[in-house]
Assembly symmetry: C2
Homo-oligomer: 151 residues x 2
Amino acid sequence: MQHNQPVETLVETMLESCMGSRVGRLHRLVDRQFDQHLRPLGLSVPQMEVLSALTLIGRPVKPSFLADVLSMERSTMSRNLSIMQERGWVEPGDVSATGRSMSVVISREGVLKLESAETAWREAQEAVVAALGTDAPSTLDDWLNKLVADR
Amino acid sequence: MQHNQPVETLVETMLESCMGSRVGRLHRLVDRQFDQHLRPLGLSVPQMEVLSALTLIGRPVKPSFLADVLSMERSTMSRNLSIMQERGWVEPGDVSATGRSMSVVISREGVLKLESAETAWREAQEAVVAALGTDAPSTLDDWLNKLVADR
DNA sequence: CTGGTTATGTTGCATATGCACCTTTTTATG
DNA sequence: CATAAAAAGGTGCATATGCAACATAACCAG
């Protein structure tokens, strides 16, 4: 094995600049904040994402569309929706020619669940924004747009 | 239930600014990039984080210390290390008075595994930095420092 | 040295995530 | 309309993650 540089240098480069590591740590730290606030309500961050998106869209949507909007894999969305449907937060949307439904909508209970999380969400949000600075949300938006652009 | 604002506004506020949602999406998108490059080598991002950190530290460390450095829960680190020890990438460090070891070090095989990932890591890293801009790593560092500060 | 306190490691439970496959549904084409 | 192609949904497998609760080890005071 020929290495032009010792292992230390490679490792330093990795730890000093690795985006995978940084984003992972950021996710662990921020997600914990929200989770600690939302968990008592029996709500997770991805579940809140789905309920918010469904409310905002306001019509039956295909899970694959939702997955695309939230940058999730179809398989992940499939499982997340299963749990939420069991709890009655979402329900099948309009049916197609074959009689089956390929879309979901938020239910009345889903709306109530989302509303019940308002205070908890606000507390977590304020804590994180206070720590990172008010520019953080727009910076993240910028990054997300760029990532989705070259896909 | 008295709401001063309609649900739409609450939801819009959530989706428009929610840090939990943004960080989650960022994690999904970036992690996928690295995962697609590292997976063929049988290496995950958190595993690479542990190997890098162990190499950089260069001495036996307690799992709880490692967990703290990488902003992981002790329980998560415990499980991640189990997998890595099964594969021989890490091994018990020096033993204490009771005969058991409460520390781990990277093994020779762990070093080799980390080295084998160099090219794959570089490709993922370059793709992500190219998309987000060269400022992204330092911005993330800034955020991570702030989050760890008020803990 | 012993007993209590604290740090640390581990396990049960639940959710999230992605890929590789496979199945089903939809859509396009002849 | 029938059939091929494409899109969508869902499962198996593996890892990651956190909290709560418990077990064990280290440490400190008396």
